[in-house]
Symmetry: C2
Subunit: 107 residues, 2 copies
Amino acid sequence: MSDREGLGEFEHIIILALLRLGDDAYGMRVRQEIEQRAGRETSIGAVYSTLDRLETKGLVESFTGEATAERGGRAKRIFKATSKGIHALERSQQALMNMMEGLTWKA
Amino acid sequence: MSDREGLGEFEHIIILALLRLGDDAYGMRVRQEIEQRAGRETSIGAVYSTLDRLETKGLVESFTGEATAERGGRAKRIFKATSKGIHALERSQQALMNMMEGLTWKA
DNA sequence: ATATTTCTTCTACATTGTAGAAATGTCGGA
DNA sequence: TCCGACATTTCTACAATGTAGAAGAAATAT
């Protein structure tokens, strides 16, 4: 099982968003979460294509949510990080941590 | 001063490496540091092209180091993060921190 | 029916990541 | 002084990721 995945920056942020959103992790909401939390503007297209690629790589999975729609709106596609995705996330975080260990710098 | 830079994953790691290496931050050494610390294999070409791009963006600067060469070997090109680069680094770190805030997950 | 709303798909291009071979400059010894 | 071994950087090319926005689809209410 070649498990040498490396997450890009945006992929990293997206998986983090999925973890915090849980069952409410669908495209539009993910985008909103990123804009609010990370303070970073993104287009909805950017979010979906990244999500699709993560799914292709098996780091994320998706399924159609029940028709929750209260007043108009299409069925949601809910995303969830797979365990493989979580491992990839952990490796990325760890790499960063290792690089930061004991490091301080002047602004 | 448009200061909306976003660091890619590798760029992020490279700048961290520069900070920890200080005056010893030249290509080969940067590569070595990344392999050891981050546990990630990289080619020397990958390191240099990323460094070059960071320099073009003004996030890093470089100068030729004195001919330290003790037994053979060409002069080193020493790299250093600019203050703009450090700001970019801080923004990236902050974005990630914000996304992680209060988050826990099961492996 | 159709307008309105919410959400997803598709298409296209820009930026970053990645590798490896080729080039460059330095040193010690024949 | 020419040569071989070395350490380091430069160049070239392509793959993967980031990014945007317009177009399409499904649901509700009137």
